[in-house]
Symmetry: C2
Subunit: 613 residues, 2 copies
C-alpha cells in the first residue's frame, strides 16, 4: 500500500478557477411544450403570428358600428336590428350594415362592418332587435388583431427560465416544441468495493455498506440542471476502474467520482487521471472536502469527490453546482442564507476553510438558533439533519454560544423542522411525531440532550424517569420494559441473566439506567453477565439481536419485543415525559403535539399506560 499525502492543499479559489475552465454547456435541444417547465429558453422566440389573429370581441354583447350608437343613453336607447349571431370559433356569416347589430360572444370574430361591441349588460334584448343603452366608440370592447402580440414581435428572450406563464405565451403563439438549453450529462462513478446498491443484500461482516452518494448526487445534479447518469459502481482495481472511467467519460460532459480520493488504497484514481488526462487540483484547504481531485480524464472534465457523504455533497454544492447552473442558465437560488445565533460551542483546529454543517431551529421569538451535529461527515444522519453550513475562516478556531452567524442553506425551499426534539427514543413519542409536519429528533446521548435542552436549543426533550430539567411537561406516560428473550431460552428474571448470552444497550439509551437500578435492587453484578459490555446503540438493538438469534436475551421495551414477535419478560415500568421549552410553548408544532397527546389512545399500545401530570 503506497499512500499519497496532501502536503500542498490548494486554496478553494484555485478549485473554482480550475472548474471554471470546464466547458459544460451543451447545444440546445428541442422539447415538447408540456416538458418545457423549469428549462431555460435557448433562443429568442418571436411571434410567428398575430395574437389574436383577428379583431376579437372582448365581451359578450352586440357587434355594432360605433357611429350607430351615438347619442344612446340609459333613458333614451337606440334600437338596432339584430341580423344574427356569431359564436367563438366561427366565421361571421354576414357583414354589418348601418342600423344593424350581430349578437356576439366573447372571443368571437368581429364581423366586417362592425367596429365595436356593446356589452350585453348595456342592452335590452327584443325579438329581432336590441335596444342599445350606451354610446360606444370604435374599438370599444374589441381586442384588435395583433394587439396581444404582433407577428414578428419579440415574445420571449433567450435565457428565460420557463414557468407556467411563459408556457402559456409559447402556446399562444402556437409553439408545440421549444428550443431549450441542453442539460449537461453528468456521470457518477462511485468507487469502492464496499459499496452495494440499495435493494440488494448486504454483507456487513465483509464491510459492505449501501451506496449513499450515487443517489444523493444524482438528485443534486438534477436540482442544479444537469442530467445525472449513473455508472456501475466499480471496485478499486485499476484496470476495472480505467475501463469504467473511459466508458463514462465517453458518454458524459462532466464526470464525477466519489471515494478513493483520500490518501488511501493505492491512489488508483490519481494515477489514472494523471495517466489518461491531467490533474489540475489535488487536495483543497477545506473541511470537509480535503481529498478533492479536479482535472480531465479521457478528454472529459472530471471532479473526484471525497467518499464521505457530507464531504461529497459539500464539495458538490460549493464547487460543482454553481458551474452546472451557469452552464444551463439557471439562476442561483434566491435567499440562500439566513442569520442565526450559534447554540452549541464548537472548537476547530483551523488551517482550512471550515464549512460546518449545522441544523436550525426557531426559538421562542422567531429567531434562528444554529446547532452543530455530533456524528461527523462520515454519517448520513449528519447530512439529513443539517440545514446548511456555517463558514469558518482557516484562522478561526472557535464558535461560541451566542455568536451571530450566517448560515448558507442547502435548500432555501426546504422547510425547517416544525419541532426540534432531543432525548430518549420512544415508540409512542415517535407515533405522535408522525401526526406532525416533519419534526426532527436528534439521537443525542443523555447528557448532551439535557445540556442542549438547558441551553435553550431544542423545543422538546423526551426524558425518562423523574424529569431532570425545568420545562413544561406536555405529556407523560409509562412504558413497560424488561428482557426480550429468544425462543427456547428459560429465563424468569435478572437472576438468570448470568447463564445467558445477553445483549445490553448503550449508556446513551435512556433505558439503561432503569436496568442498572434493577440489577442493583436484585443484587446481580453486571460483570457476571456474558455480554453485559456488548452495549448496542439503539433502543431496539438488543431486541433485534435476540430476534436474529445473535443473543439469548436483550434489554428491551415490551412494545419492541411485541413488534418483533419475540418473547418478553417484564422487569418494570419507566416514566416518559415530553418536556417543552418554556419559551416555545406558542410554537405551532408544540401546540399540535399537545393536542395529539390529548387524543392518543395509550391503551392501544402494548406495554403503555397513560400517565397523570
Amino acid at each position: 500500500m503506497t499512500r499519497r499525502e496532501f502536503r500542498n492543499l490548494s486554496d478553494p479559489a484555485a478549485v473554482e478557477e480550475a472548474i471554471d475552465t470546464f466547458e459544460l454547456s451543451t447545444g440546445p435541444e428541442s422539447v415538447e411544450l408540456s416538458a418545457a417547465q423549469g428549462r431555460v429558453l435557448a433562443e429568442r422566440i418571436d411571434a410567428p403570428i398575430d395574437v389574436p389573429g383577428f379583431d376579437r370581441a372582448a365581451m359578450d354583447g352586440y357587434a355594432v358600428r360605433a357611429r350607430d350608437t351615438f347619442g344612446a343613453t340609459e333613458t333614451d336607447p337606440i334600437e338596432l336590428s339584430v341580423t344574427g349571431t356569431v359564436h367563438a370559433g366561427e366565421e361571421p356569416a354576414e357583414e354589418i350594415d348601418a342600423g344593424q347589430a350581430l349578437q356576439i360572444a366573447t372571443g368571437a370574430v368581429l364581423p366586417p362592418g362592425a367596429d365595436a361591441v356593446v356589452p350585453v349588460e348595456r342592452t335590452t334584448e327584443g325579438e329581432t332587435a336590441v335596444d342599445v343603452r350606451t354610446a360606444v366608440t370604435p374599438g370599444d370592447s374589441v381586442m384588435p388583431r395583433g394587439a396581444d402580440i404582433a407577428s414578428g414581435a419579440r415574445a420571449i428572450g433567450p435565457g428565460t427560465l420557463l414557468d407556467p406563464r411563459h408556457i402559456g405565451l409559447l402556446g399562444a403563439v402556437g409553439r408545440e416544441r421549444v428550443p431549450v438549453v441542453g442539460q449537461p450529462r453528468v456521470g457518477i462513478v462511485s468507487t469502492g468495493a464496499e459499496l452495494v446498491q440499495p435493494g440488494n443484500g448486504l454483507r456487513p461482516e465483509a464491510g459492505e455498506i449501501y451506496d449513499v452518494n450515487t443517489n444523493a448526487l444524482a438528485a443534486a445534479i438534477e436540482s442544479a440542471g444537469g442530467d445525472p447518469q449513473q455508472f456501475t459502481t466499480t471496485s478499486d482495481d485499476p484496470e476495472t476502474m480505467r475501463v469504467s472511467l473511459a466508458e463514462a467519460a465517453e458518454e458524459t460532459d462532466l464526470l464525477l467520482t466519489s471515494g478513493s480520493t483520500s490518501a488511501g488504497t493505492a491512489d488508483v484514481l490519481y494515477d489514472l487521471i494523471e495517466e489518461h488526462g491531467e490533474v489540475l487540483v489535488h487536495g483543497v484547504a477545506l473541511k470537509p472536502g480535503r481529498p478533492l481531485l479536479v482535472g480531465r480524464v479521457f478528454g472529459t472534465p472530471y471532479v473526484g469527490l471525497p467518499g464521505y457523504p457530507v464531504s461529497a455533497m459539500t464539495v458538490f454544492r460549493v464547487f460543482v453546482a454553481p458551474r452546472l447552473r451557469a452552464a444551463v442558465g439557471q439562476p442561483e437560488p434566491a435567499a440562500a442564507t439566513v442569520d442565526a445565533t450559534i447554540g452549541t460551542r464548537y472548537r476547530y483546529d483551523g488551517g482550512r476553510l471550515r464549512l460546518l454543517p449545522v441544523g436550525l431551529v426557531e426559538d421562542g421569538e422567531g429567531s434562528l438558533v444554529a446547532h452543530t451535529l455530533a456524528k461527523g461527515s462520515g454519517a448520513t444522519t449528519t447530512l439529513a439533519e443539517a440545514d446548511g453550513v456555517v463558514q469558518m475562516d482557516p484562522e478561526r478556531t472557535l464558535l461560541s454560544k451566542g455568536d451571530e452567524t450566517t448560515v448558507e442553506l442547502f435548500d432555501p425551499d426546504a422547510p425547517l423542522p416544525s419541532l426540534l426534539v432531543v432525548g430518549a427514543a420512544d415508540p409512542v413519542a415517535f407515533d405522535l411525531f408522525d401526526t406532525l409536519a416533519a419534526p426532527r429528533h436528534l439521537a443525542l446521548g443523555r447528557m448532551d440532550a439535557q445540556r442542549w435542552f438547558t441551553d435553550g436549543i431544542p423545543d422538546l426533550l423526551i426524558a425518562t424517569g423523574s424529569s431532570p430539567v425545568d420545562g413544561d411537561v406536555l405529556g407523560r406516560w409509562r412504558r413497560e420494559w424488561g428482557l426480550a428473550v429468544r425462543d427456547g431460552t428459560t429465563l424468569d428474571g435478572l437472576a438468570d441473566l448470568p447463564d445467558c448470552q445477553f445483549a445490553n444497550l448503550d449508556e446513551d439509551v435512556w433505558l439503561r439506567d432503569a436496568f442498572e437500578t434493577a440489577l442493583t435492587d436484585a443484587g446481580v453484578d453486571g460483570e457476571d453477565i456474558e455480554g453485559y459490555h456488548r452495549e448496542l446503540p439503539g433502543l431496539e438493538s438488543a431486541a433485534r439481536s435476540v430476534a436474529s438469534g445473535r443473543a439469548d436475551a436483550g434489554l428491551a421495551l415490551c412494545r419492541t419485543a411485541d413488534s418483533l414477535d419475540v418473547s418478553f419478560v417484564g422487569l418494570g415500568e419507566q416514566d416518559v415525559s415530553l418536556v417543552a421549552a418554556q419559551d416555545r410553548r406558542e410554537k405551532d408544532g408544540l401546540v399540535r403535539l399537545e393536542a395529539a397527546i390529548d387524543e392518543f389512545e395509550f391503551d392501544d399500545v402494548v406495554g403503555y399506560t397513560a400517565g397523570d401530570f
Copy 2:
C-alpha cells in the same frame, strides 16, 4: 342564447371554504429512490439495519488494541508487528492479538481483537512492523456499528419533502423504493370551439386561437404537486361536453375546465354541473376571476376557471394551488411576497377584490417599483410580463404613484428581469438584448413609453428620431426604412402609393412618424392612399402583410424586408437611441448592454449604420 348573469357574487372566503371540502389526497405510492426527489414521504422510515453494519475504521491507519499503545509518544514510539491488511469491502482474515496491528483502510471492518485505529500519520512503517507514535483509547478513529443510525431507529418522518440529503439517508438504510404521498390527478378540459392545440394549423378568419390555458395550467398543476391530465379540448356542444366531463371525472381526482363559465353561450357548463353534480359557488367577487364555478360533477371535485389566461391562472393560483399543495404535503412557497412602490397610477371601479397583475423592476437604489400592464387579462403577454399581483380591497379604487405596497409573487424562484425596457421595437436592440440575461421589453405606445421613462419606471428607453427625454445615451445608430413591396408591383416612391393597396403601421409603432414626415415632404395626402387607415400593430406587421400577399406595399425597415425576402424601396433613415435612466447606470444589465453595443458590428446588419454620440 340565454345568459345567466352573476347577481350574487360570492366572497373569496366562500370559494376557499367550498374548495376546502374537496378530498384531494390520494393513497401513497411507491417510487424508485432515483425518482423520489421533490416528493413527500408518506410514511415514517425506520432504519431496517445498523449503519454502519460493523465497527468501521474512520481513518487510514492501523487497527490495534488500544492498550498496546499505552505510553507511545512521538519520541518514544511503540513497535507492533503488522500481521496483514484489511481493505474496505473485505472480511478481516485474522484476529488481532497482543502486540499486533493490521494495516486498515478507511471504511474497512475493524478486525476482531482490535478496538481502535491509529491514523497512518501517527505511525512509521517498517517491513513487517510499525512504529506507533501516539497512544489511542478504545473507540478512537472507529465508527461503531449502528453509530450513524441503529436498526429500528426513526430515520425520516412522514411529510418530509425529499431532497438530495434525504435521498442519501434512504440509500444508506438500503431503500430502493420509497413510499411517497400520491399526486392527485388533475384533469384539464379547456372548452371552446375556437381552441386549437399548438402545432396545428390555425384559421384566424374563423376565430380560431391557440389553446393557452391547457399547457399553462398543466405546468402550474405540476408545480403545485399534482399530476396534470389533459383531455381533448371540447366544443361548447352540451352532449359532447357531457361526455368529455364524464370521462375526465372518471379518471381524475379534481377536474378543471377553463372557459365557458362567463355569462355566455348557453351556460352549458353550469347546467351540466347542476344536472350531474352540484354547484357550490357560481361567481366570485374577485377581479380577475368573477366567472368562477365550484362544485362536483360525476362525483369528482370540480372548478370551472375563466377562459382568459390571466383570469384562469389567477384563480388557479389563489384557490386551487394551495389546496393541491396541502393535499400532497408540499410547503407553501417561502418568501412569496415583496415590498414595492407603485410606479404607475391605477384606477379601479371597485366592488370586487382586485388582484392587479404587476411587473417589477429594481430602481437605482435596489428598491422595487411595481408597474401595471396595459393589455388586460385577455392578453397572454400580460401573463408573461407580470411578476405578481397587488391586492386591492373592494373599497379601494386608486393606486397612486409612490404608494407603498406588497406584491404577491407568482414564483418566488423566478428571477426578475435584468433590464426593463420600453419604447421602439428595433431588431438590432433585440439582438443586443439576446446577449443579456432575459431583459424585458414592454411594447408600450410611444406616449406611454416616454411618460413611463420620465416617471422613472423602466431602465431603458428605445427612442427614435432626436431623443425626446433626459437620460444617458448608451448607443445610437441609424436604420433605413421605406416600403416593403410585393413582387410585380411597380413602385418607385411615395408618389406611387395612391395606386397601391397599402399596409400602414399603427401610430404607436415608432416608424410611423418618419413616414408621416416623408409624406408631408413629398406632398402626398395619406387620405388618398388605399389602406392608409389599415394601421397594423407591430414593426413587422406591414411587411408581413406584403409578404403574404395581403397588401402591395407596406411601411417597413429595410432589415425586415430583407429578412422576409420582400423587395424594398428605401425612403429614409431614422435614428435609434438607447437611453438609460440616469439613476440606473450602475445596474448590471445596463453595464453589460453598453459593452455589447461597443462590440456590435452594425455593418453586418442590412440597412443599419453605427451612429456617433
